[in-house]
Structures are given as structure tokens and as C-alpha cells.
Symmetry: D2
Amino acid sequence: MTKIKTAIIGGAGYTGGELLRLLIHHPHVEIAYVHSNSQKDKPITHSHPDLIGETELVFTDIVQTEGIQAVFLALPHGETKSFLDKNPFAEDTLIIDLSADFRDKSHGFVYGLPEINLEAIQNANKIANPGCFATGIQLALAPSIAKGWVKDAIHVSGITGSTGAGKKLADTSHFSYRTGNFSVYKLFTHQHLKEIKQTFKQLDPSFNQEVLFVPYRGNFTRGIWITAYFPFEGSEEEAVKAYQEFYKDAAFTFISSQDIDLKQAVNTNKCILHIQKEAGMLIIYSAIDNLLKGASGQAIQNLNIAIGLPQHTGLQLKSIAF
Amino acid sequence: MTKIKTAIIGGAGYTGGELLRLLIHHPHVEIAYVHSNSQKDKPITHSHPDLIGETELVFTDIVQTEGIQAVFLALPHGETKSFLDKNPFAEDTLIIDLSADFRDKSHGFVYGLPEINLEAIQNANKIANPGCFATGIQLALAPSIAKGWVKDAIHVSGITGSTGAGKKLADTSHFSYRTGNFSVYKLFTHQHLKEIKQTFKQLDPSFNQEVLFVPYRGNFTRGIWITAYFPFEGSEEEAVKAYQEFYKDAAFTFISSQDIDLKQAVNTNKCILHIQKEAGMLIIYSAIDNLLKGASGQAIQNLNIAIGLPQHTGLQLKSIAF
Amino acid sequence: MTKIKTAIIGGAGYTGGELLRLLIHHPHVEIAYVHSNSQKDKPITHSHPDLIGETELVFTDIVQTEGIQAVFLALPHGETKSFLDKNPFAEDTLIIDLSADFRDKSHGFVYGLPEINLEAIQNANKIANPGCFATGIQLALAPSIAKGWVKDAIHVSGITGSTGAGKKLADTSHFSYRTGNFSVYKLFTHQHLKEIKQTFKQLDPSFNQEVLFVPYRGNFTRGIWITAYFPFEGSEEEAVKAYQEFYKDAAFTFISSQDIDLKQAVNTNKCILHIQKEAGMLIIYSAIDNLLKGASGQAIQNLNIAIGLPQHTGLQLKSIAF
Amino acid sequence: MTKIKTAIIGGAGYTGGELLRLLIHHPHVEIAYVHSNSQKDKPITHSHPDLIGETELVFTDIVQTEGIQAVFLALPHGETKSFLDKNPFAEDTLIIDLSADFRDKSHGFVYGLPEINLEAIQNANKIANPGCFATGIQLALAPSIAKGWVKDAIHVSGITGSTGAGKKLADTSHFSYRTGNFSVYKLFTHQHLKEIKQTFKQLDPSFNQEVLFVPYRGNFTRGIWITAYFPFEGSEEEAVKAYQEFYKDAAFTFISSQDIDLKQAVNTNKCILHIQKEAGMLIIYSAIDNLLKGASGQAIQNLNIAIGLPQHTGLQLKSIAF
């Protein structure tokens, strides 16, 4: 198989960096160029110094569209549409957008959650990559929604690492503030609820329950932890079985029979789930790396699917473990 | 005022150490002795080296009961009763127990949550100091319970620092495991629910709702964060007003009109609350230091109340802030 | 004793906040006003929310000079002189400057390191408060310098918490960057070396050795750790004795006979030293809190000395311990 | 190429776990079995839950020697010799020992630092894998030693993550103690100095300088940072050039022209160096992951070399980056 000529737009940020870390060693990808206005003409190791010894690539501010077979867009939310208008890629260029701009499936984009939309992704040439919290929450709940088990409000608490807020400086990302600290934001109103509910409606058109989501800022850099629960009349065994069945072909989503913790998933493309029944509730925990399964890793998983490669290609990552 | 002759039983652990840090500079306390079987005859600065320059005290394994006006029991849960049986203090010795053993108000103990039981504590000579999670959750919810606002299940998520698990070594307190990590334990079954419900029944004998509590192990050493919510028909303003009224005489519990974060309360005896209405729910956040308002600080607050001192005495602590 | 009318200039930053945390409960201080241009008319709890329930003070942008008995200047380095030119305080107003601007003893300022300059501080009305690294390093080495023991280069490594870099946002203070990380800056050229050598010359006019200082950015918020060593022909006992003698009247500097760690000093005004002889070298470790003994705590210690109060007044702080 | 039948002895610990994480996806390795007495018959995902979905292997307590082409020994220091006596592997089995037991090159072991001993490793069937601090320090200094530049004592400070101390519980690995903390241990006497000096003697038989090494316990889980310096008469450019020449064929050791930080190397097999001249000293910084280049990663690098594979095989790891 020849290598796919691939471009990265917005290569200086966190998700751009993760794409680079993964694509440099992807056996079927050739990085044609990495775009960044701010870092133009600088080596990418200037922004991503951990890549020393792995690449001699230099950022460019020129967007070449011709001959590009796949392009990853890692632009700030809201800027993708105007970028694509200014830089029209060929009809058959695979576009994978990491922003929130097309997650409503507008403009012909497919919602890139492989566990739900595998077939659509196989046939897509425009993929909207899911949000990080959205990925963790949907994978925790999708089998229950599909089964029609949810007949009351779903209660969700989610904790995200600081990289979810990106590279830009902010008071809530100041080390002196965030270390040893804990806080809530966007209570019940997080923007990812929109794409979550869209998927739930797709799985069960009659779904109409509230998703009460408490998002926390965690005192760590990578990872998202989700706890979700709702009243459930079935047994734990029944639930575990249904989840195993639902995810039996999933490349990266696993149901653990042991208690889980966040670091099991950090620096991998996995989503690790654990299921419990207690006090009449079905509780599902999920752990992902917000920058991988929650962003750049899933983007490459989508690339693999869309171009017909095994989903694991370039994504068998060593977890941080400790 | 002469100084109260005070003993500390179990002075080598975390809560024992915090008692020492506070009592050494308490203007109306004289530490008669500090008991520890394991550290017998060693200077207390051996176990608590930060106290260098502040005390020359040495641990003893002899329990003197005579002449002791107040005694703090910082023994492992389950050991207090047999200790008191073996070492009977005088009727008028003030006993403040930090364990869970008498929080059911057995054996004449008063439940030492000053915001609820001020009068009883004023007249008590046996005080059962509340649990850390129990303190954070009760202070978040007491005014709502008292008002009779809770007519459905209460959803609570709580995150505790590692010091809540004490000095003993455990896999889940290993630095390599816990750093950058996050996990759940005792889902819906945390032992503090018992004392929480006991207080709620006291505030509203008809209270009969579920308290669904998700306890998390946080990636920090000190502090407890609580988020609690339930369906509420009133307005945010009404709720804020009721909470301000309820806590208007509280020495350490405050309602913040700003968003709060955990470190505001760390290394203080405060409980800082913030209140929000969203999606038909009343949401209350509370932040405390698990070793202070959640343990040793509250124990000294109880001492102050029981012996007729201003509640702040010896407890005007500088927060860690950063 | 009546209370000293005190002003804080630059009250919204980290050291300004620490001054407030301490002065609010200082028994002989009345805070006349807290100045901040950026926070004018906002409650100080807006910038320092942990102070809820302790103060109703509001920031002002008006500099009142009349009737002020003591003023703390917590302005950015380089701005103090022009501030004082614009706002001339009375001759007998005690000025304590936390910036680096007058640490060269210009304009009549005394260098405010109490362990060295006690008498001068007692008689001063202008005090230049030492730098944080400078405090840790000088207290580690002063007795050795005074004894004339140092006849070769001194090797120092020092690690600082993130609060040393202040409130402003910077790439090296980004939580995602700094967490779990470690790096060097200003190798051998740190600006504090100037005041360190000035003191060493004061203690021993013939002192002329190099101080090779490796400053590290640590992965914690508060504290400075110093390791210093140089060839030494005497014994460990001799050194310990000399240090104990040198610091026998010091209010906050202690020599520990046990191994020390940084957190013993965090959130206190202490400097904790430990001394070791190994491989022909005398090694001294010192641990301080960079914002307290390294800044605001020492400033208040200087205030106490200058106005004739016991040095501990308002400074008996509970360490964070964990 | 057929796959090498490989065994791991001591697979339940930290370095055993890292070996597993890497070998499972090594294209030329087949894991014959993973030995652990304590975890016998349990799935390896029980000890290493992050490996869910990647392996169905189960620990065994049976040591099979026949047919094993390569064996990794990840036993506690001091236990390897008696293990090998009890379990004699065939003459041509490649033995890679991660303990300190044969780093003195006894019993026919080659010291497995590829940057220095490449040829010997290519021909070895017994390899003693270097210590973590030893790797970081030797790679920082080897080119200078080889050039004969070091004519005075070398001053080294090194900071290690908590995983260097292994899985067992200890007071200094307690999360409540170590978080936000910093301390020294084994000052000037660290056991790795022995193998460091052995290599320096190999590079320059006349080398006879002191290596004054201050080892710190860092407040992070993974990584080792080294700062080393000594008087140097040449220029920075000359030094950089010599280092680039020395490491021009090194697979994982790189000289960065930018300032470096620890996390650039974390979760990779790289050693990243930076060189500076200041105050008459040549300063070299090095950053490695203590469990990878400092242990299991280097062990696999040695395997690759010994069996004739490209050094990168199975070791192109995504850094944690944040």
C-alpha cells in the first residue's frame, strides 16, 4: 500500500501536536506538510520538542490543496468553515475536523464515533471528530440507550485534565491555581451535551430524558473520567452482557470486570468501562485520554476506517501506567 | 482564664498531628500529655517534624486520667469504646472523640456539628466529632432539609484528598498510583451516609429521600469538594437567602456569591458554600479541609464551644491559597 | 498598645495576598487601606476569595500617605522608586519594600534579613525585604561564611515553587506544562546572587569565592529547597554546634537533627536547616516557604522587629504538613 | 524473521509491567510466559489493568528454560544470581538482567549501555542493564570523559520520579507525604556511582575525579533529570560538536539546541541532552524516563542489538508530552 499524503492544519496546538506524534510513525501516512500561521518556517520540534530525533519537518503557512489525500483540521472552534471556504480541497480528499463546527452533521459531515457510526465512517470523506467529554459520555451510555433502558434523567459527573482547555494561558490553567485544586464549570450546560443527545436520538429516536452533567476541572493534565447512572430494573450481569455485546467489535472500547482508574487509559486510544448495579441504579464509569480517544487518537482511528486500514494501525500506544 | 489541661490520645497520626499543630498555640489550652503507644518516649517532632521550634513535648504511653479537663481521642475507628472502658475519665472531663464510634449519639455523646447542634455542644461533656465527608455534605444540605425543600433523591458527588485515608500505607495512597489519577470507591454505600441521614431526620423528622453519594479519590492531599443537587421549585435568590439566614451565626461556614474552588478552604476551618439554580435543580457546592473542618479543626471548635470560648479561638488559620 | 496604621501597596498579587492573610489577624496592626490599580473598588475577597468571612475591605487606587505608620510595597520589581517619588510618605513612616529595588541598601534602606541584621532592622524605617532564593541560600551559608570556613567555590542547587513567578500567566507556569515536569533557568546567573554576595561580604569582608547556583523550577506551588556544599575540614558536630550558636536567638530558623523535607516549612515562616558532612564536604539543606519566610512572612517579621514587638507576633502559622 | 521466544521473570512489578507493555507489540517477539510467584495463575491484566484488550496472558510460577531464546530478569536486587543458579538457561539463551547484580561485569555479563558498548552488546548473550540514574549521568558525561576534559570534581544533581523506588509501599512514596514535597537521599553515596565510575574508567583509564552526586526525590512519577558540570576551558560550540559526534549513531540520545525539560523524554526511550558553558563550567543536562531508557526500554534496546534488529524496533513510543 502506498502512503496517504496527509496535511495537518493547526499543527502548533495540543491536538495538532498529538496528531504529529502519532502520524510520524503511522506506517501508511506521509505527512505532506504541517500548517501553522504562528509558527511558520520554524521546525516543528520548536513547538513540540519531545519530537527531537523523529522529524525534520518545518511548519508552513501555505495551504496546499492539490494532491492531498487526507487533511486533519485542528483549528479553534468556529474557524473551520471559513478555512474550508478559502481553501477548497478536492471532492475526494478525506477531511477530518477536530473542531466542534460540523458535529451537527451539517455540510455532509459524518459524526466520527466509530463505535456507533462505523459504516458511515467507512464511506465518509468528511468526518467531524467528537468532543472529548462527548466521547467519554456517549461510550458510557450508548448501549443503555440503544436497549431503551433509560426512562429517567441520567446523572453524569465528569472530570477533565487541563489539556482539554488547550495551550492558551488562562487563570484556571495557572499551575499555582490548579495544583491540588478542584472546581466546577458550565454546570448542566456543557456544549458537548448537544452532540451527545444527537447520538442518543440516533440510537433511540424516542429518547427524551435529561442528561444532567456536572463537569469538573481536575488536578491532572490528561484524561477524562465519567460516572453516569440512571434507574435500572435489570441485573448487573444483564448490563455487562449487553455492553460486551455492543462493543464486541470495538477496537478500543473495553469493559473491565475490575474497578478501574483513570491512568489505565492515559496515553492510549482506549475507552475503559466498568459497570455496577447499586441502589436500583445502573452505574457506568468510563476513562479515556482526552487528547487521544477524546481527540487526535480517535481522528486517526477515523482515518484508518475511512481508508480501509485496521483500526489499530499506528495506535497501539504504551499507556503511561504510573 | 486559666488554661484547660488537655490530653491527646493517638497523637502520632494525621488528625493527632493536626490537633497538636492547633493546640500548641491555643491561648487557653495547656497540653498535659500526648499519648501514643507506637511512639512512646520519642519527641513529637519525630512524628511531626514541622513542629520544630514550637514544642519540646515527648509522647507517652501512660494514660493519665486525673486532673485532665479535656481529652481528644484520635484512635482508629472501633477502638474508642474499649479505650474508654480501660481508662475511665472523670465525669466532668470533656471527651471529644474523632472516631466514628459514637456518632450515633450512643453512650451520651452529642453529635458535634456546631452549625446544627450548637446548644447541645455547649452543654455537652461527650462530643462525637463528625466525619469529613459527612461535614461537607451536611453543611451543603442542612438548610434545604430544614426548609423541607427536598422531595426527591439528592445526588451528591464528593472528592477527597489522600489524607482522608490516614497515615497507613495502601496501594491507593501510593504516590506512583495516585498522582494524576482518579477513581471511585464505596459507591452509594459510604459509611458517612448514616450520620448524614441521622442529622437530616433531626432537622426534618419526615425526611425520607435517598442520598446517592459518589465518593471519589482525588489527586490532592487535603480537602473535600461536594456537589449536591435535587429538584427545587424556588428561585436561586430564595435559596441563597435561606442559606445566609441559616448560617448567619456560623463561625466558619460562609456562602460565597462567586464561583468557588477547593483551595479556598484548604488549611482553614471554613466551609465555603456556593449555590446555583439550573435546569430545575438547586445545586450546592461545598469546600472544606478534610483534616480541619472535617476533623481536628472542628474538634477544637467543639472544645471552644463546650468550654465557653469564642469559636474562633486558636482557629484563625492562614489558608494555603495556592 | 494601639494598633499600627498600615497600608499595602500592590495588594492583588501573590505577596500582597499573603500580607493580607497575615495582617488581618495581626493583633497590633490595623489595615488602613489596600491599594491596587487593577482591582480598584472591588472587595479584596474578589482577588483573594479564601478571605471570605475575614474581611470586608475594598481595594482603592488612592494612595493616602498621611497618618500611615507602616507601608508594605508589593509592586513589581523596578516600580518602587518611581512610586515613592510620586507618593512621598512621612519620614517616620516605616517602609517595607518586597521588591528587589533597594536590596543594594541604596536610599537608606536596610537589608531585612533578621538573622543577620537584627539591630539595623530594629532601628530602620526603610527595609528592603530579601528575595526568596536569597533568603534560603543566605540562611544555609551565613554561619559558615562568618566562621571563615569557605575557601573554595560553593555549589548550590535550589528548587522553587511556581508561586515564585507570580500571578501573571506564562508558558512555564501553565499547568499542562509544569505538572510532573522539571527544568532549569538562569543557570549560575540568578539575580539573587548579588544580594547573597553582599551579605557574605558583610559577614566576611575577605569572602571572595564563587557561588555556583543551579535554580530549578519545581513541580509544586510553594516552597524553596536549597542544597549547598563546599569543602570543609572540620567535623559535622563542629558545624552543627556553630550553626546552633549562630541561630540561637533566631525566631524562625532551626537546625533539625533529622533528615528534612520541603513540606515541613510550607505555610510557615520557618527556615529549617539540616547539616551533614560527607566526602570532605559540609552540606547544608534549607527549606522555606517562598511566599512567607521568602517574602511576606519575613516582611511582617521585619515589621515586628522595627516596631518593637516579639518576632512571632501574628506569625505562629500552622504548616500544611501534608 | 521468526519471532524470538521470550520470557519475563518478575512480571508483576513496575519494570516487569513496562517490559510487557513494550514486548506485547514488539514485532519480533513472542512472549512465551510471564513469571511471578505472587501473582501465579492470575491474568496479567490483574496487575497491569491498562493492558486490557491487549493480552490474555496469565502469570505462571513455573520457570521453563528450554526453548527460551531470550529472558528478561526483573527481580529485586540481590536475587538474580540464586535464581539463575536454580534455573539454568541454555548457553545460547540471551539473558538481560535489570537488577544491579551483574553490572560489575562479573559472570560474563556485558554492561548494557548501547551508546558506549554497542559492539560488546551485539556479541553478548548476558547483558546487565544499567541503573536509571547511572544511565542519565553516564550519557551526560561520557563524551567529556572520553575527550579527557574532566580534570576536577564533577558536580551532579539528579531528581528521580517515584517509580524509581518500585511498587512496594514506603513512607517516602506515600502520596500524602510526597505530593508537593522535595527531599534528598543517599547524598554522595548513591549505589549507582560504582557503575558510573566503571564506565568512566573504561572510557578513560586515567580518570580519577570525584563525582559528587546529590540525588533528590522528585514530586513526579516518571523521569530523571540530571545536571552535571565541571571546569572546562573549551567553548560551548566545541562541546556541542563533540557530543554530536559522540552520539551521531545513537538511536535514542539527542543533543537539543533548545532549553529542555523533563517531560520531553517521559514515556519514551530517549535521552535528551542540552549543553551550556557558563562561569568557566561546562554544564550538561540530561532527561530520561527512568522506567524506559532507565530500565525496561533500554533492556529491549539491548535485545534488539543483541539479536540484530534495528534499535528502534518496538520502541518508537509516543511521549506523554503534557
